[in-house]
Symmetry: C2
Subunit: 464 residues, 2 copies
């Protein structure tokens, strides 16, 4: 295993394959195979996302993959933003299609023609839907698994409201869903208002949730867009209000992707391999019996049945072709939160030995108190992972007082900025760090680090 601190990039590329999350040898660039372990982590995260959306009254749907060129062209900025980076289907069998169709890069242009059919009166509002599908981008940049793929596992919520204010409230609601998602991932974050030139094609404004990876580069985790009437006008999505007057709806979207998986891998791992948040680990507890004169296996099996019955995701590693030591390393590499060792001493004392992935040392627990001990340990791991990640984020995000400071610092830089593109461009030219926009979660003002005019706290960083 590579050293994570010194060679983060190599460490990352290696661990996602070694741990059995994906296989990168598929013969199409930027498209990987989700292997059973990686797929389970992703599906577990989706289960949480579905739960939070359901309780927020957002309904799941699934739209077709193909979007005609005509659909995509309805909103001009949107077409301009995407036409150069989509895959185009032009033939069916041996026939040339009458109209080229794109593989969805995102689903505004698939959904909004239907919004205009579904929405008639204010009684139909708010309309709140989401889907979890793959999207496709013809990336010309260097691809990297989970962080920049050409096939992307994607969550997108789309809502329509009577007024701009209602749409603003939805964006706040999105943030409360985001907080839950971040909590189960144990991933800390900062929030930005993206600069005008970097907002989503067609949006009034874009808010984004970012984190900083151990490499010092920031990673966008989620986006929350206010569309106002920018899409409802070209797509003619109108409703009649209580006075029978025809009005355009105000729209928002909320997007997340498999970048969340990449963030979890990068932020929590160590030189031994993955460290998975307890809520998302496919295996929360692994039991390794240590062969001896005593029948440790039967006892381990009883412990396994007891844990399984409690609903905890447990696995009994009864492979007889591997030593206990090999198994310890193997499951540590896969990031399993808790290991239970069972040798003849444990059998003799009706106990087990617990080893937590995030702590040093072992502790012996009586089997009658095991379930409580596991639940407490999972909580301890959650807390430990979260506080360690917060500390790590803090260490990668520094205030810079000058451009020279910014150049010298490898991580993300905070500085006051006046909001002008010229100043952001100058920062990028000198430091190779791009402007992520104003911090939305901290209000702080000062003199722009470039021009000295009044500015607000912003983040500058190399990005994934």
């Amino acid at each position: 295993m590579e050293n994570r601190k010194e060679n983060f990039s190599q460490w990352y590329n290696e661990i996602i394959e070694t741990a059995g999350m994906i296989d990168k040898r598929y013969p199409v660039k930027g498209m990987n195979i989700w292997m059973p372990y990686g797929l389970k982590i992703s599906q577990q995260l989706d289960t949480f996302i579905r739960k939070y959306c359901d309780s927020s009254g957002i309904n799941e749907v699934s739209f077709p993959l193909l979007i005609t060129r005509g659909q995509l062209a309805v909103e001009f900025e949107h077409l301009k933003g995407f036409e150069g980076q989509v895959f185009w289907v032009t033939k069916g069998g041996t026939d040339q299609l009458e109209e080229d169709m794109s593989l969805r890069p995102t689903s505004e242009s698939a959904m909004y023609p239907m919004f205009s059919l579904w929405i008639r009166t204010h009684g139909d509002l708010p309309l709140k839907i989401y889907q979890i599908v793959n999207v496709y981008r013809y990336e010309t940049k260097h691809t990297r698994a989970f962080l920049r793929d050409r096939e992307i596992h994607f969550f997108e919520a789309h809502t329509a409201h009577e007024s701009f204010e209602d749409a603003e409230k939805e964006i706040e609601e999105y943030l409360s869903i985001w907080k839950e998602v971040a909590r189960v991932m144990c991933v800390p974050y900062i929030i930005h208002r993206r600069p005008e030139w970097d907002k989503f094609p067609g949006a009034r404004y874009s808010n984004a949730v970012d984190t900083v990876m151990p490499s010092g580069r920031t990673l966008q985790l989620a986006t929350l867009h206010q569309y106002a009437e920018n899409f409802s006008k070209p797509y003619e999505i109108t409703y009649s209000d209580e006075n029978g007057e025809k009005k355009f709806v105000h729209q928002t979207t909320y997007g997340m992707s498999s970048r969340l998986i990449g963030a979890m891998v990068g932020i929590h791992g160590d030189d031994k391999g993955l460290i998975l948040p307890p809520d998302l680990a496919p295996v929360q507890v692994v039991i390794v019996p240590i062969p001896s004169g005593t029948d440790t296996f039967s006892y381990a099996k009883k412990i396994y049945e007891m844990i399984l019955a409690s609903g905890i995701r447990v696995r009994l590693d009864d492979r007889d072709s591997y030593t206990p030591g090999y198994k310890y390393n193997d499951w540590e590499m896969r990031g399993v939160p808790i290991r239970i060792e069972i040798g003849e001493r444990e059998v003799g004392s009706s106990s087990v030995t617990l080893v937590l992935r995030t702590e040093k040392g072992r502790k012996k627990v009586e089997s009658s108190k095991l379930l409580d001990a596991i639940n407490e340990s999972l909580n301890l791991i959650r807390e430990h992972m979260t506080s360690k990640a917060i500390e790590q984020l803090g260490s990668m995000l520094k205030d810079s007082l000058s451009l020279d400071d910014m150049v010298k610092w490898n991580g993300a830089s905070q500085a006051a900025w006046c909001g002008k593109k010229d100043c952001a461009d100058e920062i990028e030219a000198k430091t190779e760090k791009i402007c992520l926009g104003y911090r939305l979660d901290i209000e702080k003002s000062g003199e722009c680090i470039v021009c000295g005019n009044h500015g607000k706290l912003a983040t500058f960083s190399r990005t994934y």
Copy 2:
């Protein structure tokens, strides 16, 4: 609502939209929008399929959508079978791609190059994987939602084994998974060995599970293919056996699709709308409070909480803009298995009134005995739906003693057949019924209905 018996096709097309399962107005032919209610039914079915696969030791993976022309061309019969019916991606942004890529029509050619990397020795076998993804077929025939789409929700299991015999055993194992799937759908079926000319492109043989729809046309529900070494040779999937000798693996596949949803709709519905199997219904119990002087709503809410806590999928219909009568019809149309009515009499007697979707009449139940009554009722509905569907299948599947008999009969016909294509062609020319192959679940022989030579029981039918 159309009359299901007289106008099955119109009834079917109407109910799937009226019940909120899909929206067919998406502007790409043969691609529909899964609406929340339809998507939930499909996801519920997937949950069962995943459970059965997991306990059968088949692991879930997810392969990329795009398959290069080169990958598809490795096995000639397979390419020949699919190249005329796939969508081709030829451009990325404004670039012409170096090689055309197809949207997966099925995933043999995506997976098998990886099998040849994953499999080295007999210790790697059996290799058993599945995925649930959408597949794409450029259908030139008339499309019909769930039954013949261009975007198809698809399940595909792929396995590799040391020997032909091991592969044969896997096909038996598939059938035991299928039986569980059929059980939760309450859908009866018959099994065929497809004729040589109708087997899957590249297969040694194809077994198929079929059912008969109320229209008299048969619908293929699942396919189980024996590939033997037909794919492992061109894809070079080999293993070294215990003596270090290099051998080709033997492969099988098992496929199912959203046709299962279409079958459930068609087989169980009635003139009032859908009837959903209890295990797959998004709402198993709906509670309708009847407004009155008494506070029926608070009581209904208590009943709702009690049912919810038991894990049953329950909904309280508290919409105040609709009458109870409207709600009864609405939920009956959506196929909800059990309705609970709560009026002032029910509140007064601490009871509720149960109405089952599949039975006539109402029954009063004390609230203290309600959970047992619901579970018994769900069982009763399962039994009722299953026995009614078996009866219906029996009535649509008749023995024919002559081709004239076969012409006159609108449903599926059973007759002895010698196995020759000439005889099957003659049957098709005269009766417009195609040969589904020998029945595998019934052994019966007789004289071929065309040539009089020795034959075995086969099915002939119009198909979807």
